[in-house]
Protein backbone atom coordinates (compact mmCIF):
# COMPACT_ATOMS: atom_id res chain seq x y z
CA UNK A 1 0.00 0.00 0.00
CA UNK A 2 1.49 3.30 -1.06
CA UNK A 3 1.69 6.02 1.54
CA UNK A 4 -0.21 9.01 0.22
CA UNK A 5 1.48 11.25 2.79
CA UNK A 6 5.05 10.08 2.37
CA UNK A 7 6.43 13.52 3.16
CA UNK A 8 4.20 16.03 4.90
CA UNK A 9 5.20 19.61 5.71
CA UNK A 10 2.97 21.09 8.41
CA UNK A 11 3.31 24.88 8.73
CA UNK A 12 7.05 24.62 8.52
CA UNK A 13 9.06 27.75 9.25
CA UNK A 14 12.79 28.37 9.45
CA UNK A 15 14.35 31.55 10.71
CA UNK A 16 18.03 32.49 10.70
CA UNK A 17 19.71 35.30 12.55
CA UNK A 18 22.17 37.10 10.33
CA UNK A 19 25.52 38.33 11.58
CA UNK A 20 24.16 41.85 11.92
CA UNK A 21 21.41 40.59 14.23
CA UNK A 22 18.62 40.77 11.68
CA UNK A 23 16.26 37.88 11.51
CA UNK A 24 15.70 36.24 8.13
CA UNK A 25 12.81 33.92 7.41
CA UNK A 26 14.16 31.41 4.92
CA UNK A 27 11.04 29.24 4.97
CA UNK A 28 7.72 30.90 5.68
CA UNK A 29 4.75 28.72 6.64
CA UNK A 30 5.12 25.93 4.10
CA UNK A 31 2.55 23.19 4.13
CA UNK A 32 2.84 20.49 1.51
CA UNK A 33 2.06 16.80 1.04
CA UNK A 34 4.12 14.52 -1.17
CA UNK A 35 2.72 11.06 -1.90
CA UNK A 36 4.98 8.02 -2.12
CA UNK A 37 6.67 7.48 -5.47
CA UNK A 38 6.23 11.02 -6.69
CA UNK A 39 9.11 12.89 -8.33
CA UNK A 40 8.82 16.48 -7.10
CA UNK A 41 11.01 19.34 -8.29
CA UNK A 42 11.39 22.39 -6.10
CA UNK A 43 12.20 25.35 -8.22
CA UNK A 44 12.75 29.00 -7.44
CA UNK A 45 15.25 31.86 -7.59
CA UNK A 46 18.29 31.96 -5.30
CA UNK A 47 17.40 32.49 -1.68
CA UNK A 48 13.80 31.32 -2.00
CA UNK A 49 14.24 28.67 0.68
CA UNK A 50 14.17 25.54 -1.42
CA UNK A 51 17.54 24.24 -0.25
CA UNK A 52 16.68 25.00 3.37
CA UNK A 53 13.50 23.02 3.00
CA UNK A 54 15.50 20.09 1.64
CA UNK A 55 18.03 20.28 4.46
CA UNK A 56 15.15 20.04 6.94
CA UNK A 57 13.80 16.93 5.26
CA UNK A 58 17.31 15.47 5.37
CA UNK A 59 17.36 16.19 9.09
CA UNK A 60 20.53 18.25 8.87
CA UNK A 61 18.75 21.27 10.25
CA UNK A 62 15.53 21.58 12.22
CA UNK A 63 12.50 23.83 11.57
CA UNK A 64 12.04 26.83 13.85
CA UNK A 65 8.37 25.92 14.03
CA UNK A 66 6.07 23.36 12.45
CA UNK A 67 6.90 19.75 11.75
CA UNK A 68 7.91 17.57 8.89
CA UNK A 69 6.61 14.02 8.94
CA UNK A 70 8.22 11.43 6.73
CA UNK A 71 6.81 7.93 6.36
CA UNK A 72 4.57 8.51 9.39
CA UNK A 73 7.28 9.57 11.80
CA UNK A 74 8.44 13.05 12.67
CA UNK A 75 11.92 13.90 11.40
CA UNK A 76 14.40 14.52 14.21
CA UNK A 77 17.73 13.95 12.51
CA UNK A 78 19.45 12.52 9.44
CA UNK A 79 19.02 8.87 8.54
CA UNK A 80 19.40 6.42 5.69
CA UNK A 81 15.73 6.55 4.93
CA UNK A 82 16.27 9.98 3.45
CA UNK A 83 19.39 9.69 1.29
CA UNK A 84 20.85 12.88 -0.17
CA UNK A 85 22.91 13.90 -3.20
CA UNK A 86 24.65 17.25 -2.67
CA UNK A 87 25.60 19.85 -5.23
CA UNK A 88 29.26 19.79 -4.23
CA UNK A 89 31.23 16.57 -4.39
CA UNK A 90 30.65 14.64 -1.19
CA UNK A 91 32.08 11.31 -2.24
CA UNK A 92 34.81 10.41 0.29
CA UNK A 93 38.20 11.02 -1.39
CA UNK A 94 39.97 8.55 0.90
CA UNK A 95 37.85 5.60 -0.17
CA UNK A 96 37.88 3.89 -3.51
CA UNK A 97 34.75 4.06 -5.64
CA UNK A 98 33.45 0.66 -4.63
CA UNK A 99 33.98 1.42 -0.93
CA UNK A 100 32.08 4.66 -1.33
CA UNK A 101 29.12 2.98 -2.93
CA UNK A 102 28.83 0.32 -0.25
CA UNK A 103 29.50 2.67 2.69
CA UNK A 104 25.87 3.03 3.79
CA UNK A 105 25.46 -0.74 3.76
CA UNK A 106 28.67 -1.16 5.75
CA UNK A 107 27.41 1.22 8.44
CA UNK A 108 24.37 -1.00 8.83
CA UNK A 109 26.50 -4.11 9.20
CA UNK A 110 25.61 -5.78 5.92
CA UNK A 111 28.19 -8.57 5.33
CA UNK A 112 30.98 -8.01 2.82
CA UNK A 113 29.92 -10.36 0.06
CA UNK A 114 26.41 -9.08 0.01
CA UNK A 115 27.20 -5.40 0.05
CA UNK A 116 29.91 -5.85 -2.58
CA UNK A 117 27.50 -7.42 -4.99
CA UNK A 118 24.86 -4.75 -4.39
CA UNK A 119 27.44 -2.03 -4.91
CA UNK A 120 28.79 -3.65 -8.04
CA UNK A 121 25.27 -3.94 -9.44
CA UNK A 122 24.60 -0.23 -9.00
CA UNK A 123 27.99 0.69 -10.41
CA UNK A 124 27.14 -1.35 -13.45
CA UNK A 125 23.86 0.42 -13.79
CA UNK A 126 25.48 3.85 -13.71
CA UNK A 127 28.15 2.63 -16.14
CA UNK A 128 31.14 2.79 -13.80
CA UNK A 129 32.10 -0.86 -13.44
CA UNK A 130 35.49 -0.18 -14.99
CA UNK A 131 36.51 2.33 -12.28
CA UNK A 132 35.43 0.25 -9.31
CA UNK A 133 38.92 0.42 -7.76
CA UNK A 134 39.71 4.00 -8.69
CA UNK A 135 40.25 6.88 -6.27
CA UNK A 136 37.75 9.73 -6.50
CA UNK A 137 40.50 12.17 -7.43
CA UNK A 138 40.98 10.27 -10.65
CA UNK A 139 37.40 10.80 -11.77
CA UNK A 140 35.71 13.64 -13.58
CA UNK A 141 32.85 15.64 -12.05
CA UNK A 142 30.18 13.74 -13.93
CA UNK A 143 31.60 10.40 -12.87
CA UNK A 144 31.69 11.50 -9.22
CA UNK A 145 28.01 12.39 -9.43
CA UNK A 146 27.27 8.92 -10.75
CA UNK A 147 29.12 7.45 -7.79
CA UNK A 148 27.05 9.57 -5.39
CA UNK A 149 23.84 8.52 -7.08
CA UNK A 150 24.87 4.86 -7.08
CA UNK A 151 25.76 5.10 -3.38
CA UNK A 152 22.46 6.61 -2.36
CA UNK A 153 20.47 4.12 -4.41
CA UNK A 154 22.51 1.17 -3.20
CA UNK A 155 21.76 2.23 0.37
CA UNK A 156 18.04 1.64 -0.12
CA UNK A 157 15.91 4.31 1.50
CA UNK A 158 12.44 5.30 0.33
CA UNK A 159 13.12 9.00 0.02
CA UNK A 160 15.71 10.62 -2.20
CA UNK A 161 16.78 14.23 -1.77
CA UNK A 162 18.82 15.99 -4.43
CA UNK A 163 20.05 19.56 -3.91
CA UNK A 164 20.89 21.04 -7.32
CA UNK A 165 23.04 17.95 -7.91
CA UNK A 166 23.96 18.76 -11.51
CA UNK A 167 24.33 22.51 -11.12
CA UNK A 168 28.10 22.48 -11.48
CA UNK A 169 28.23 20.29 -14.58
CA UNK A 170 28.10 21.07 -18.27
CA UNK A 171 24.98 20.73 -20.37
CA UNK A 172 25.88 17.43 -22.03
CA UNK A 173 26.89 15.76 -18.77
CA UNK A 174 23.75 17.07 -17.09
CA UNK A 175 21.54 15.55 -19.79
CA UNK A 176 23.34 12.22 -19.50
CA UNK A 177 22.89 12.21 -15.73
CA UNK A 178 19.18 12.90 -16.08
CA UNK A 179 18.96 9.57 -17.88
CA UNK A 180 21.09 7.82 -15.27
CA UNK A 181 18.85 9.12 -12.51
CA UNK A 182 15.60 8.33 -14.25
CA UNK A 183 16.81 4.82 -15.18
CA UNK A 184 17.54 4.07 -11.55
CA UNK A 185 14.38 5.71 -10.26
CA UNK A 186 12.01 4.16 -12.73
CA UNK A 187 13.12 0.56 -12.32
CA UNK A 188 10.64 -1.88 -13.79
CA UNK A 189 9.23 -4.22 -11.17
CA UNK A 190 10.39 -2.13 -8.23
CA UNK A 191 8.71 0.51 -6.06
CA UNK A 192 9.49 4.03 -7.12
CA UNK A 193 11.26 6.14 -4.51
CA UNK A 194 9.86 9.49 -3.45
CA UNK A 195 12.12 12.21 -4.82
CA UNK A 196 12.58 15.85 -3.85
CA UNK A 197 14.81 17.50 -6.42
CA UNK A 198 15.85 21.14 -6.00
CA UNK A 199 16.80 23.06 -9.12
CA UNK A 200 16.53 26.41 -10.79
CA UNK A 201 16.73 24.94 -14.29
CA UNK A 202 13.20 24.94 -15.78
CA UNK A 203 13.95 22.43 -18.55
CA UNK A 204 15.48 20.07 -16.01
CA UNK A 205 12.35 20.28 -13.90
CA UNK A 206 10.14 19.63 -16.90
CA UNK A 207 12.24 16.64 -17.96
CA UNK A 208 12.33 14.99 -14.57
CA UNK A 209 9.29 15.89 -12.47
CA UNK A 210 5.81 14.54 -11.92
CA UNK A 211 5.09 17.72 -10.03
CA UNK A 212 6.81 21.07 -9.81
CA UNK A 213 6.55 23.25 -6.71
CA UNK A 214 7.66 26.82 -7.30
CA UNK A 215 8.90 28.77 -4.31
CA UNK A 216 9.43 32.42 -3.76
CA UNK A 217 10.62 34.28 -0.68
CA UNK A 218 10.22 31.22 1.49
CA UNK A 219 6.68 30.45 0.43
CA UNK A 220 5.09 28.09 -2.03
CA UNK A 221 4.15 30.20 -5.01
CA UNK A 222 2.77 27.51 -7.29
CA UNK A 223 2.16 23.77 -7.38
CA UNK A 224 1.97 22.37 -10.93
CA UNK A 225 1.24 18.83 -12.00
CA UNK A 226 3.23 17.63 -15.03
CA UNK A 227 1.19 15.16 -17.01
CA UNK A 228 3.49 14.46 -19.96
CA UNK A 229 4.19 10.74 -20.37
CA UNK A 230 7.59 9.21 -19.72
CA UNK A 231 10.13 8.77 -21.18
CA UNK A 232 10.29 12.47 -21.99
CA UNK A 233 12.07 13.42 -25.19
CA UNK A 234 13.11 16.74 -26.69
CA UNK A 235 9.74 16.82 -28.37
CA UNK A 236 7.99 16.31 -25.03
CA UNK A 237 9.10 19.74 -23.95
CA UNK A 238 7.51 21.26 -27.02
CA UNK A 239 3.99 20.14 -26.05
CA UNK A 240 1.69 23.06 -25.53
CA UNK A 241 0.89 22.13 -21.93
CA UNK A 242 4.63 21.91 -21.22
CA UNK A 243 5.25 25.25 -22.83
CA UNK A 244 2.47 26.76 -20.75
CA UNK A 245 4.03 25.35 -17.58
CA UNK A 246 7.35 26.75 -18.65
CA UNK A 247 5.92 30.22 -19.01
CA UNK A 248 4.34 29.98 -15.58
CA UNK A 249 7.64 28.93 -14.05
CA UNK A 250 9.64 31.58 -15.79
CA UNK A 251 7.22 34.12 -14.42
CA UNK A 252 7.73 32.78 -10.90
CA UNK A 253 11.44 33.03 -11.48
CA UNK A 254 11.00 36.64 -12.45
CA UNK A 255 12.29 36.12 -15.96
CA UNK A 256 8.96 36.76 -17.61
CA UNK A 257 6.05 38.91 -16.68
CA UNK A 258 2.62 37.36 -16.08
CA UNK A 259 0.63 36.91 -19.34
CA UNK A 260 -2.06 39.57 -19.68
CA UNK A 261 -5.52 38.36 -20.27
CA UNK A 262 -5.99 37.93 -23.95
CA UNK A 263 -2.37 36.89 -24.80
CA UNK A 264 -1.94 33.66 -26.70
CA UNK A 265 -1.20 30.69 -24.40
Amino acid sequence: MLNSRMIEFIHVEREFTRADGQSVRAVDDVSLIVPEGEFVCLIGPSGCGKSTLLQMVAGLTAPSSGTIVSDDSEIDGPGRERGMVFQRDSVFPWMRVIDNVEYGLKCRGVPLEQRRSVAREYLRRVGLSHVEKAWPRELSGGMLKRVAIAAVFANGGKILLLDEPFGALDYVTRRQLHNVLLDLWDEPGAERRTVLFVTHDVDEALTLADRIVAMRAGRVADDISVAAPRPRTTDSLLRSDMVAIKHRLLTHLGLESAPRAGDAA
Binding site: P93, V131, P136, R137, G141
Partner: protein, 286 residues
Protein backbone atom coordinates in the same frame (compact mmCIF):
# COMPACT_ATOMS: atom_id res chain seq x y z
CA UNK B 1 14.60 6.39 -24.68
CA UNK B 2 17.45 6.10 -22.33
CA UNK B 3 20.96 6.63 -23.49
CA UNK B 4 23.45 3.91 -22.83
CA UNK B 5 26.04 5.11 -20.43
CA UNK B 6 29.47 5.18 -21.95
CA UNK B 7 32.70 5.38 -20.04
CA UNK B 8 34.54 7.57 -22.49
CA UNK B 9 31.68 9.96 -23.00
CA UNK B 10 32.04 12.19 -19.98
CA UNK B 11 35.72 12.97 -19.79
CA UNK B 12 38.96 11.10 -19.91
CA UNK B 13 39.80 8.74 -17.08
CA UNK B 14 43.09 9.78 -15.57
CA UNK B 15 45.77 7.19 -15.62
CA UNK B 16 46.06 5.21 -12.39
CA UNK B 17 49.25 5.06 -10.36
CA UNK B 18 50.65 1.93 -11.89
CA UNK B 19 54.02 0.71 -13.00
CA UNK B 20 54.37 3.47 -15.59
CA UNK B 21 53.84 6.26 -13.09
CA UNK B 22 56.20 4.65 -10.61
CA UNK B 23 58.95 4.48 -13.21
CA UNK B 24 58.43 8.12 -14.10
CA UNK B 25 58.65 9.04 -10.42
CA UNK B 26 61.90 7.13 -9.98
CA UNK B 27 63.49 8.89 -12.92
CA UNK B 28 62.36 12.23 -11.57
CA UNK B 29 63.83 11.39 -8.16
CA UNK B 30 67.22 10.73 -9.73
CA UNK B 31 67.01 14.16 -11.27
CA UNK B 32 70.39 14.71 -13.00
CA UNK B 33 70.33 18.35 -11.99
CA UNK B 34 70.07 17.48 -8.29
CA UNK B 35 72.89 14.97 -8.61
CA UNK B 36 75.09 17.63 -10.19
CA UNK B 37 74.27 19.93 -7.28
CA UNK B 38 75.31 17.30 -4.76
CA UNK B 39 78.52 16.54 -6.62
CA UNK B 40 79.44 20.22 -6.83
CA UNK B 41 78.86 20.62 -3.10
CA UNK B 42 81.16 17.74 -2.22
CA UNK B 43 83.72 18.96 -4.76
CA UNK B 44 83.86 22.46 -3.31
CA UNK B 45 84.15 20.96 0.17
CA UNK B 46 87.12 18.93 -1.08
CA UNK B 47 88.81 21.99 -2.57
CA UNK B 48 88.16 24.07 0.58
CA UNK B 49 89.64 21.35 2.76
CA UNK B 50 92.74 21.31 0.58
CA UNK B 51 93.56 24.92 1.39
CA UNK B 52 92.92 24.64 5.13
CA UNK B 53 94.51 22.41 7.73
CA UNK B 54 92.69 19.19 8.59
CA UNK B 55 91.94 20.41 12.07
CA UNK B 56 89.93 23.31 10.64
CA UNK B 57 88.18 21.44 7.81
CA UNK B 58 88.77 17.76 7.13
CA UNK B 59 88.30 16.53 3.58
CA UNK B 60 85.09 14.71 2.60
CA UNK B 61 87.00 11.55 1.77
CA UNK B 62 88.69 11.46 5.18
CA UNK B 63 85.35 12.03 6.86
CA UNK B 64 83.79 9.15 4.95
CA UNK B 65 86.75 6.89 5.76
CA UNK B 66 86.49 7.81 9.42
CA UNK B 67 82.74 7.13 9.47
CA UNK B 68 83.35 3.72 7.90
CA UNK B 69 86.25 2.94 10.25
CA UNK B 70 84.38 3.92 13.40
CA UNK B 71 81.04 2.50 12.38
CA UNK B 72 81.30 -1.00 13.83
CA UNK B 73 84.06 -0.36 16.34
CA UNK B 74 85.66 2.79 17.73
CA UNK B 75 87.71 1.80 20.81
CA UNK B 76 88.86 5.37 21.43
CA UNK B 77 85.30 6.29 22.39
CA UNK B 78 85.36 4.13 25.51
CA UNK B 79 88.39 6.10 26.65
CA UNK B 80 86.27 9.24 26.51
CA UNK B 81 83.63 7.66 28.67
CA UNK B 82 81.07 6.76 25.99
CA UNK B 83 79.28 3.64 27.15
CA UNK B 84 79.32 1.82 23.81
CA UNK B 85 82.36 2.18 21.61
CA UNK B 86 81.03 2.30 18.09
CA UNK B 87 79.01 4.65 15.90
CA UNK B 88 76.57 1.86 15.17
CA UNK B 89 75.61 1.17 18.79
CA UNK B 90 75.13 4.84 19.55
CA UNK B 91 73.18 5.35 16.35
CA UNK B 92 70.84 2.57 17.47
CA UNK B 93 70.46 4.30 20.84
CA UNK B 94 69.64 7.62 19.24
CA UNK B 95 67.31 6.03 16.68
CA UNK B 96 65.46 4.12 19.39
CA UNK B 97 64.91 7.35 21.30
CA UNK B 98 63.73 9.17 18.19
CA UNK B 99 61.31 6.39 17.25
CA UNK B 100 59.83 6.16 20.75
CA UNK B 101 59.51 9.92 21.10
CA UNK B 102 58.02 10.45 17.66
CA UNK B 103 55.57 7.58 18.03
CA UNK B 104 54.29 8.75 21.42
CA UNK B 105 54.42 12.42 20.60
CA UNK B 106 52.59 12.00 17.30
CA UNK B 107 49.91 9.79 18.83
CA UNK B 108 49.30 12.05 21.82
CA UNK B 109 49.60 15.32 19.91
CA UNK B 110 47.57 14.17 16.92
CA UNK B 111 44.71 12.73 18.97
CA UNK B 112 44.53 15.70 21.33
CA UNK B 113 44.69 18.04 18.36
CA UNK B 114 41.78 16.32 16.61
CA UNK B 115 39.74 16.16 19.81
CA UNK B 116 40.47 19.82 20.60
CA UNK B 117 38.76 20.85 17.39
CA UNK B 118 35.55 19.16 18.52
CA UNK B 119 35.55 19.71 22.28
CA UNK B 120 35.95 23.35 23.28
CA UNK B 121 36.95 22.44 26.82
CA UNK B 122 39.95 20.48 25.63
CA UNK B 123 40.90 23.32 23.36
CA UNK B 124 40.56 25.88 26.15
CA UNK B 125 42.88 23.91 28.40
CA UNK B 126 45.47 22.72 25.92
CA UNK B 127 45.83 25.70 23.57
CA UNK B 128 47.53 28.02 26.09
CA UNK B 129 50.05 25.30 26.98
CA UNK B 130 50.86 24.79 23.31
CA UNK B 131 51.15 28.53 22.67
CA UNK B 132 53.67 28.97 25.48
CA UNK B 133 55.55 25.86 24.54
CA UNK B 134 55.72 27.10 20.98
CA UNK B 135 57.52 30.30 21.89
CA UNK B 136 59.84 29.08 24.62
CA UNK B 137 62.93 27.28 23.31
CA UNK B 138 62.33 23.78 24.45
CA UNK B 139 65.92 23.07 25.36
CA UNK B 140 65.40 25.24 28.42
CA UNK B 141 63.65 22.24 29.90
CA UNK B 142 66.78 20.11 29.53
CA UNK B 143 68.38 20.93 32.91
CA UNK B 144 65.06 20.28 34.72
CA UNK B 145 64.63 16.97 32.99
CA UNK B 146 68.17 16.06 33.94
CA UNK B 147 67.43 16.69 37.61
CA UNK B 148 64.14 14.79 37.50
CA UNK B 149 65.14 11.86 35.31
CA UNK B 150 68.91 11.63 35.57
CA UNK B 151 71.21 10.76 32.70
CA UNK B 152 69.26 7.90 31.17
CA UNK B 153 67.05 7.97 28.12
CA UNK B 154 64.03 9.45 29.84
CA UNK B 155 65.06 13.10 29.78
CA UNK B 156 66.03 13.15 26.09
CA UNK B 157 62.98 11.14 25.05
CA UNK B 158 60.56 13.34 27.02
CA UNK B 159 62.01 16.47 25.48
CA UNK B 160 61.60 15.19 21.95
CA UNK B 161 58.18 13.69 22.70
CA UNK B 162 56.95 17.08 23.82
CA UNK B 163 58.35 18.77 20.72
CA UNK B 164 56.66 16.25 18.42
CA UNK B 165 53.38 16.44 20.35
CA UNK B 166 53.21 20.22 19.96
CA UNK B 167 53.70 20.01 16.21
CA UNK B 168 51.18 17.22 15.73
CA UNK B 169 48.69 19.04 17.98
CA UNK B 170 48.80 22.07 15.71
CA UNK B 171 48.54 19.98 12.55
CA UNK B 172 45.76 17.83 13.99
CA UNK B 173 43.70 20.77 15.11
CA UNK B 174 44.13 22.51 11.81
CA UNK B 175 43.33 19.41 9.78
CA UNK B 176 40.12 18.84 11.70
CA UNK B 177 39.10 22.49 11.36
CA UNK B 178 39.79 22.41 7.62
CA UNK B 179 37.70 19.31 7.17
CA UNK B 180 34.72 20.11 4.96
CA UNK B 181 31.54 19.49 6.96
CA UNK B 182 29.89 18.10 3.85
CA UNK B 183 31.54 14.71 4.35
CA UNK B 184 30.04 14.24 7.74
CA UNK B 185 26.65 15.42 6.55
CA UNK B 186 26.80 13.00 3.64
CA UNK B 187 27.78 10.17 5.93
CA UNK B 188 24.85 10.92 8.25
CA UNK B 189 22.42 10.84 5.35
CA UNK B 190 23.81 7.43 4.45
CA UNK B 191 22.91 6.28 7.94
CA UNK B 192 26.25 6.53 9.75
CA UNK B 193 26.29 6.99 13.54
CA UNK B 194 28.33 9.83 15.05
CA UNK B 195 31.04 7.51 16.34
CA UNK B 196 31.28 5.87 12.91
CA UNK B 197 31.97 9.28 11.41
CA UNK B 198 34.99 9.68 13.69
CA UNK B 199 36.41 6.39 12.46
CA UNK B 200 35.40 6.70 8.84
CA UNK B 201 35.66 10.43 8.20
CA UNK B 202 37.55 12.44 10.80
CA UNK B 203 40.52 10.14 10.99
CA UNK B 204 41.07 9.16 7.35
CA UNK B 205 40.44 12.72 6.12
CA UNK B 206 43.01 14.22 8.46
CA UNK B 207 45.67 11.56 7.90
CA UNK B 208 47.46 13.37 5.03
CA UNK B 209 47.88 16.55 7.04
CA UNK B 210 48.89 14.62 10.13
CA UNK B 211 51.46 12.67 8.14
CA UNK B 212 52.74 15.93 6.74
CA UNK B 213 53.23 17.22 10.26
CA UNK B 214 54.74 13.88 11.24
CA UNK B 215 57.35 14.18 8.54
CA UNK B 216 58.30 17.68 9.66
CA UNK B 217 58.43 16.66 13.30
CA UNK B 218 60.57 13.63 12.50
CA UNK B 219 63.13 15.76 10.68
CA UNK B 220 63.49 18.07 13.66
CA UNK B 221 63.45 15.24 16.17
CA UNK B 222 66.85 13.90 15.07
CA UNK B 223 68.60 17.17 15.77
CA UNK B 224 66.78 17.80 19.01
CA UNK B 225 67.56 14.29 20.23
CA UNK B 226 71.23 14.75 19.44
CA UNK B 227 71.33 18.02 21.36
CA UNK B 228 69.49 16.51 24.34
CA UNK B 229 72.04 13.72 24.45
CA UNK B 230 74.79 16.31 24.20
CA UNK B 231 73.49 17.94 27.37
CA UNK B 232 73.60 14.91 29.62
CA UNK B 233 73.77 11.34 28.48
CA UNK B 234 76.04 8.34 28.55
CA UNK B 235 75.23 7.16 25.05
CA UNK B 236 74.00 8.30 21.69
CA UNK B 237 75.24 10.34 18.76
CA UNK B 238 74.90 13.53 20.78
CA UNK B 239 77.18 12.12 23.45
CA UNK B 240 79.80 11.27 20.83
CA UNK B 241 79.55 14.80 19.42
CA UNK B 242 80.08 16.30 22.87
CA UNK B 243 83.07 14.14 23.59
CA UNK B 244 84.75 14.72 20.24
CA UNK B 245 84.12 18.45 20.48
CA UNK B 246 85.99 18.46 23.77
CA UNK B 247 88.86 16.65 22.09
CA UNK B 248 88.72 19.06 19.13
CA UNK B 249 88.28 16.28 16.59
CA UNK B 250 86.45 17.88 13.63
CA UNK B 251 86.96 14.81 11.46
CA UNK B 252 85.20 12.64 14.02
CA UNK B 253 82.49 15.24 14.54
CA UNK B 254 81.74 15.44 10.83
CA UNK B 255 81.82 11.66 10.50
CA UNK B 256 79.27 11.41 13.30
CA UNK B 257 77.11 14.11 11.73
CA UNK B 258 77.25 12.45 8.32
CA UNK B 259 76.17 9.14 9.85
CA UNK B 260 73.37 10.83 11.76
CA UNK B 261 72.32 12.67 8.61
CA UNK B 262 72.16 9.42 6.68
CA UNK B 263 69.88 7.96 9.34
CA UNK B 264 67.68 11.04 9.19
CA UNK B 265 67.41 10.68 5.43
CA UNK B 266 66.38 7.06 5.78
CA UNK B 267 63.83 8.13 8.37
CA UNK B 268 62.48 10.72 5.97
CA UNK B 269 62.22 8.11 3.22
CA UNK B 270 60.20 5.93 5.61
CA UNK B 271 57.91 8.88 6.34
CA UNK B 272 57.46 9.49 2.62
CA UNK B 273 56.64 5.81 2.10
CA UNK B 274 54.05 6.02 4.88
CA UNK B 275 52.54 9.07 3.23
CA UNK B 276 52.40 7.24 -0.10
CA UNK B 277 50.75 4.26 1.52
CA UNK B 278 48.16 6.01 3.68
CA UNK B 279 47.56 9.21 1.81
CA UNK B 280 47.79 7.95 -1.75
CA UNK B 281 44.26 9.09 -2.35
CA UNK B 282 45.40 12.66 -1.90
CA UNK B 283 48.37 12.54 -4.21
CA UNK B 284 47.38 10.26 -7.02
CA UNK B 285 47.33 13.06 -9.53
CA UNK B 286 51.06 13.42 -10.42
Amino acid sequence: MSLGVNAGSDGAVRRRAGSRAALAAAIKALDPLRLVGAVLFVASWQVASAVTSPIILPSPWSVLKRAAADFWSAPALSYYGVEQASLYANLIYTTENVVIAVAFGAAIGGVVGLVSSRLWLVRAVVDPIMMTAGTVPILIAAPFLLIWFGVGRASAVSLVTFYVAVILYVFGQRAARNLDPIYEQYALTLGAQRRQTIRDILIPATVPELLGGFRIALAGAWGLEAVSELLGSQSGMGKILEVLAGATDPQGILATLVTLGAAAMIGDAVAVALIQRFAAWNFVRS
